[in-house]
Amino acid sequence: MAEAIFELFRGNREGGQPATYRVPIAPGMVVLDALLYIQAHLAFDLAVRWNCKAGKCGSCSAEVNGRPRLTCKTRMDSLPLEKPITVHPMKAFPVIKDLVTDVSWNYRVNKKIPPFEPRPGSEWKMYQEDVDRVQEFRKCIECFLCQNVCHVLREHDKVEQFAGPRFFVRVAALEMHPLDSKSRTRMLKDELGIGLCNITKCCTEVCPEEIHITDNAIIPLKERIVDEFYDPVLMLVRKIRGAKQELS
C-alpha cells in the first residue's frame, strides 16, 4: 500500500521538535484522517482538535506544508507525496500541545462587540436580497485561519490594538443587519483597530467559507468610518467655508 510520511510538530509551550510518522494512504483520504490514524496507532497522546470532519465546525485548523488549512478538507491527493507532509499548529496563537493552540483570545475579543439590537417597533419583515450579504458573513465557522495569517497579528502581535478579520466580519454582519439599530463604527476605529488593516487580502485567500472578507466586510466598514469621521465632502465644505471666512 502507498504510504505518506508526515512530519508533525510535537511539543508544548516550552518547546518541541518535529516527529516523523508513516501512514498508509486510502482513496480520498484527508490530512485529518492521517492525524487520527497516527493518534490511534503510533502516538496515542497526539493532541489534535476536530469535531465534524466535514468543514462545518472550524476546529481542525493547522498549517499543512506551511499553508493554513482545515485539515479535514485537505485531500492527501492534493499534496506532493515525494517529500514529508509537514503539519504545524497555527503560528499566531500560543501552542498548548502538538497541533492544539490557545485560541481563547478570540473569545475575549468577541465579548467586547456590542450585540444585535433591533430597532424598536421592528416588524420582522426582511427580504432575501437584504439579508444575502449578511448571510455571507454569518457563514463564518470560526476556524480562525484568517486571524492566523493576518500579518498584524502573526508578525506584529498587535493583540491589544487589533481585533482581526474574523471580528471585522462579525461587526459587518451586525452593522449590515437590516434591523440593527446600533453603530459600532467608533469602536471599530478606536478599539478594534481596523485602521491597521492595509488590505493585503491574505485573510480572504485562506477563508474556507469563501467569505469575501476584505471586499465585502472590511472595505465597506472602512468606508463607513471615513463617511462618519472624515467625510471628504464635509471636509471640503468646511474648507470652503473657512476660505470664505478668510475672504470676508
Binding site: H41, F44, N51, A54, D98, W124, Q128, Q135, H177
Partner: protein, 572 residues
Amino acid sequence: MTTEYEIHDHDVLIIGAGGAGLRAALGALSQGAKVGVVCKSLLGKAHTVMAEGGIAAAMANVDPADDWRTHFRDTMRGGKLLNNWRMAQIHAHEAPDRVRELEQWGALFDRTPDGQILQRAFGGHTFRRLCHVGDRTGLEMIRTLQDRGVQLGIDVYMECTITRLLKDGDRVAGAFGYWREQGRFALFRAKSIVIATGGIGKAWKITSNSWEYTGDGMALAYDAGAELMDMEFVQFHPTGMVWPPGVQGILVTEAVRGEGGVLRNKLGKRFMEQYDPKKMELSTRDVVARAIYTEVREGRGTEHAGAYLDISQKPADYVKKKLPSMYHQFKELADVDITKGPMEVGPTCHYMMGGIRVDAETAKSSVRGLFAAGEAAAGLHGANRLGGNSLSDLLVFGHRAGLAAAEHAKAVRATPIDSAQVAEAAREILAPFERKAGESPYTIHRDLQETMQSLVGIFRDQADLIRALEDLEKLKDRAEHVSVEGSRLFNPAWHLTQDLRSMLTVSEAVTRSALARQESRGAHSRIDYPGLDAVWGTKNSVVVRKGDTMTLHQSPVPEMPSDLRQLVAEEK
C-alpha cells in the same frame, strides 16, 4: 499525581453547550440565576453547529394550513405513538415562538418573497415546515445563542469534561471533571444541574456523529440513579456518505430530498415506490433507511454499497444556493459535482431518541435537582424522530429546563460536597495512568464500534443481541484494565478512557432494551419480530441502576386525552 481541584459555584450548572444547553442557560439567566456552562469542545463547536436542514415549527409562512395540531400529529405518528404526548404537544405549541425569538436575537433565516421566514419540506412533515438557512441552520442557531449567552454573562468552561455527578442523599450537589487542556481537576457546586450533552453515535462505526457523542450525560445521570428511557431507539439516517472510506458516515442532509432529490438503485429504479409509494423519498427516516439497506442487501446497491441520490435535475444555481455545503462537501471530499450527477449514499448512525427520562413540563429527571434537555433527554420523539424536530426540541425544552432549574435553585439551599465522593471521582479519572502495560483505549473503542455496528444496527435479532451483550461484558472487562502513557496535558488517549466508560454504559442500555422489545417499531427493527405489537405499543423501556447492575423494566406509555387521540387518528 496531584488530585487538587479548583471550585466553582453556581445556582444552575449546565453540562453541554449545544442548542439545548445554551437555550437552558438563557432560560435560567432570565430568572436571575448564576449560570455556568461546561463543554468538552470549544464554545460553538458542539454538534448543533453541524445541523443542516432546518428547525421544524408550524409557523404557516409557506403553507397557511399548517398549525400546531398537524405538527403534533406528524410527530406522534413519526414516533409510532410511543412519544410522551404532552411533550409532543408542548413542542408543537411553543416551537414557533422559540424560532421567532431567535430571529429577535439576530438570527437571519432564509426569506419568503413577502419577507417572512422561509420553510421547506422534510420527511414525515405534512406541510413545508422547516425554517432554515441554506444547509447551515445549526450554525446560525448556535452562534445566535452563544453570542447572546456570553453577552448576558454566563460563565463558560470550555474544553472541560464532567465525569461524575456528586450527590447529597437523593439530590445532586455538584459535578466533578477535568480540564482537557491542562488535565487539572475542577469541582462545580450547584443547586440544579441540567444535562444537555447530546447523543451516543460514537459507539457505532459508521456514524454522522463526532468524538463528543459518547453518551456521557446519560451515563452520568444513570450513575446518579436517574432513569433512562427508550434506549432501543437509535436513529440511522438513510443518507450518509459511503465513499471515499474516510468520509463514510458523514451526513448528507435530508434537505436534499426536501428540495426534490430522488433515490435510485443501480438499475436506475426509484425504489421508494415499493416501500412508501405515497410519501416516496420524504417518508420517515426509519422507512427510507431500511429501504436502502434492503436494496443493497438484495444486490441492487451501487458500487460502494449504497443508493444513488440525485438532485441534478434541478438548476445548478438553485442547488448551489439551497445546498451550498452539500455542494462543497461532495466536490471537495468525493470529487462529485452534485449539480451534474448523483451522490452515493447509505445509512449512518445519527440520533438517539432515547435518553434521560424527564417530566414533560419541567424537564426534571427522577433525581432531585437534575434536569435534562435536547438529545440527551427522551420522550418527545418516541420510536423515531422526524427531521427538524431536534433543533426545535432543543429550543423548547432547553428553555423549559432552564426556567425549572432556576426555580428549583431558588427553592433550595446549597448543599455540602462529600469529599469521599470527590476523592473517588479523582481516583477513577487517574486510574489509567496508574496501570502499566494495559491495553490502549483506541483498540477497545474500535472493537466496541464493530460490535454495535454489526450486532445492534438497523436490523436486529435475538441471537445477535445476546452476542452483543456477551461482547460488551468482555469489553467492559478490557476497559477496566486500560492504561495510558504521557502526561495530563491535552492527552486524547486519556480522554478516551473516560469517554469509553460512558459508551459502554449506554451501549449496554441500548442492547438490553433492544433485546427485550419483541416487535418492530420505528427505528427498532427485529428480523425475528417483524410487525408492530399492540401490547408493546403501550410500553416504554426503562433502565435503572440497582447497586452495580443494570436493570430493565417497562412502564406504561402515558395515555393521551381523547381529543388528542382523535386528532392523531384523523386521516390526512
